[in-house]
């Protein structure tokens, strides 16, 4: 390691990327799907009604209906809150009209029991719980695996993902250091040149979304801040949950609530003030609460949107007089504001549909970056191995990486398609159905690993990619055969969340089909050795790769 910084960074990039690559590919695939988590869940619950906007309503009238019900069920409580029908800033789905109340906490507890009810916006009557859809892991299950994996205890899983994330951060920084001419490299593409094409593709994909990769990696670490870097809190506050609570109370302010009941102030003028400040349709909810020793307050909250998604603007009023109270100082100062911006950036909850597709595309580029990087590692070493004239002497490490690459890059997407198939094909009344959707995913994935072990590498790539293409393209058809939420219905109703899912599956099918075709032609054994001067490494590489 007596080399320049660029050389040591290149060494680090290579090995760090290899060690973490497969797990990171899994994290990126499941995390990218997570950007459409809600839409995927809706698709996986075809029993739920098609999306419709609620009828026009008068916020003040709904607030009165809600307060009538709250006064009836919880005349004295720690807090009341009313959610008005609204869409958050991303305009993805409607949030229903509902109420929630928190009972006064039992002695020795910080929170009291909390109950939620959905109300009919027309009458204020309590609505029965929604029709129970089929049991499914849903988009949330898929998304959740990007940090808590599966079949592993939570505390282990988040640490394993944390180490991989830290390695990703190192890979990104060392990758940037390695590139003297990062701008020029970005515009360089030498197609059809085997290993060099992999390198160019890896560079282009990586640089294209570089800010996203840095952001997503760093903010990912911040999500589990004190699991990953507990030293400061352990030393300053001590270990254990009780001490952690002391810290959070200091940071977020005290939660303590004094008892409240129905406010004397009339709610309608307060709503008028909020609508004047934020515009109509931007009022998300109303809360009644009281800090000990102060008069009770009515708090009106703005719809969550933008970079302040996690702490939307509020207006405070005296619950007895209706007089406007000064804004409460934001708890946590710049440090907490910074952390909240990081959470918002990572989850992208605040972006509209265009931004969501951009997040999704950046996530796919991340999969591409990791996939091309892993392929580059294998292709480079296979070529060196062959150029040393050692075809007969199989190298265990290279073979292992090649197999894991096919099983991960082509196999995992096939497994995800299998997850969606399972949602439609497993019996609706099956016990542990949600768990079985996951078992199907992992069974397909394990199957692709055995397939990759048993087939020559070239065939394994091409056949698994074709299978993935077919599996995705058939999903809308399986959907049409098993439910009445197919494209004919969803497009006609303008339910673009459901239609978008099916259309995306067709798109993925097409994309994997193109990749499969490309790989099949590129990897076809050529008649050697006419072009021995510049050996096209992939064909020669893969031809002999089976021991």
């Amino acid at each position: 390691m007596k080399e320049t910084l660029r050389q040591t960074a290149a060494w680090l990039h290579t090995w760090v990327g290899l060690v973490a690559g497969w797990l990171l590919f899994f994290v990126f695939v499941t995390g990218t799907a997570g950007y459409f988590e809600r839409e995927i869940t809706r698709w996986m619950q075809p029993e739920r009604p098609l999306e419709i906007a609620p009828p026009a309503f008068e916020p003040a009238a709904l607030a009165t209906l809600a307060m009538n019900r709250l006064e009836q069920v919880a005349p004295v409580a720690a807090s009341w809150s009313i959610t008005l029908p609204h869409q958050d800033g991303s305009k993805r789905a409607w949030t229903d009209f509902s109420i929630r109340w928190e009972e006064m906490p039992q002695p020795g507890h910080s929170f009291g029991a909390s109950t939620r009810e959905r109300l009919d916006p027309a009458t204020g009557a309590v609505l029965p719980p929604e029709a129970e859809p089929r049991e499914t892991s849903g988009g949330f299950g898929l998304y959740r695996m990007h940090y808590q994996l599966h079949y592993l205890p939570y505390q282990w899983a988040i640490r394993i993902v944390g180490i991989a994330t830290m390695l990703m951060l190192l890979a990104i920084v060392s990758g940037v250091i390695t590139h003297k001419k990062i701008i020029r490299d970005f515009f360089t593409f030498r197609p059809g040149k085997g290993q060099r094409s992999w390198l160019d593709a890896h560079n282009a994909v990586s640089v294209m979304a570089l800010p996203f990769f840095l952001m997503i990696t760093y903010t990912g670490l911040v999500f589990f801040l004190f699991e990953y870097m507990p030293a400061g809190r352990d030393v300053l506050y001590g270990t254990g949950d009780a001490n952690a609570d002391v810290y959070y109370e200091e940071l977020y302010g005290d939660h303590e609530h004094a008892a409240i009941s129905r406010p004397a102030a009339s709610i309608a003028p307060l709503i008028t003030q909020a609508e004047k400040a934020w515009g109509k349709g931007n009022l998300a909810g109303i809360a009644v609460e009281r800090h000990p020793g102060e008069p009770a307050e009515i708090v009106l909250s703005r719809v969550a949107s933008g970079i302040e998604y996690y702490s939307p603007a509020q207006l405070h009023f005296n619950a007895d007089t209706g007089a406007r109270l000064p804004d409460e100082p934001r708890e946590g100062g710049t440090a907490l504001a910074t952390a909240e911006v990081m959470y918002a950036l990572h989850e992208g909850q605040f972006v509209n549909i265009g931004g969501r597709w951009l997040y999704f595309a950046a996530g796919l580029l991340g999969c591409g970056m990791i996939g091309t990087g892993l392929s580059l590692w294998a292709s480079k070493r296979r070529r060196r191995h062959l150029s040393e004239g050692r075809e007969a002497d199989e190298h265990f490490g290279i073979r292992l990486v090649e197999i894991l690459n096919v099983a991960t890059i082509a196999g995992l997407p096939l497994a995800v398609a299998g997850f969606f198939w399972a949602n439609r094909l497993l019996p609706v009344e099956m016990t542990d159905r949600a768990a079985w959707e996951f078992h199907c995913l992992f069974a397909v994935w394990l199957g692709t690993l055995f397939y990759a072990l048993g087939r020559p590498l070239r065939q394994a790539w091409s056949e698994l990619l074709w299978a993935t293409s077919g599996a995705f393209a058939l999903i809308p058809i399986v959907n049409a055969l098993t439910t009445d939420r197919h494209l004919g219905v969803t497009i006609a109703h303008g339910d673009w969340a459901l239609a978008g899912f099916d259309l995306t599956m067709l798109g993925l099918g097409a994309a994997f089909g193109l990749t499969a075709r490309k790989v099949t032609t590129r990897l076809r054994p050529q008649t050697p050795p006419a072009e021995a001067a510049i050996p096209s490494p992939l064909p020669s590489t893969l031809k002999e790769s089976r021991a």
Binding site: L169, V173, G232, L251, G333, A335
Partner: protein, 101 residues
């Protein structure tokens, strides 16, 4: 990167393993100690300073690991990790850490 995979000596492998340990574990210890000191020095309410310093720790860890792989002398890497951690821990102690623990 430079050496051929097959010709790597056992000695080389041990050096790499030792360097990985120094970077990962030594670097983590150093970063942890630095995070505590930074929290104590940051002129913010304690909880906020802790959040700010902890969020920055991953930048520091990245730099420390990059340096650990760049530094020529492995002995120097271990020395810096060990002495640095010890000195930062001492600094944290003298700044009054542990009072709450």
């Amino acid at each position: 990167m430079s050496g051929k995979i097959e010709t790597m000596s056992a000695r080389y492998r041990w050096t790499v393993a030792s360097r990985v340990a120094a970077a990962a574990l030594g670097g983590y210890a150093l970063t942890s100690a630095a995070t505590v000191v930074l929290t104590l020095l940051w002129p913010l309410p304690k909880a906020q300073a802790l959040l700010a310093a902890s969020m920055l720790s991953f930048v520091l860890y990245t730099i420390v690991v990059l340096w650990a792989f760049h530094c020529r002398s492995l002995r120097r890497v271990w020395t810096v990790m060990a002495l640095g951690t010890a000195m930062l821990a001492l600094a944290a102690w003298s700044l009054g850490a542990g009072g709450a623990a």
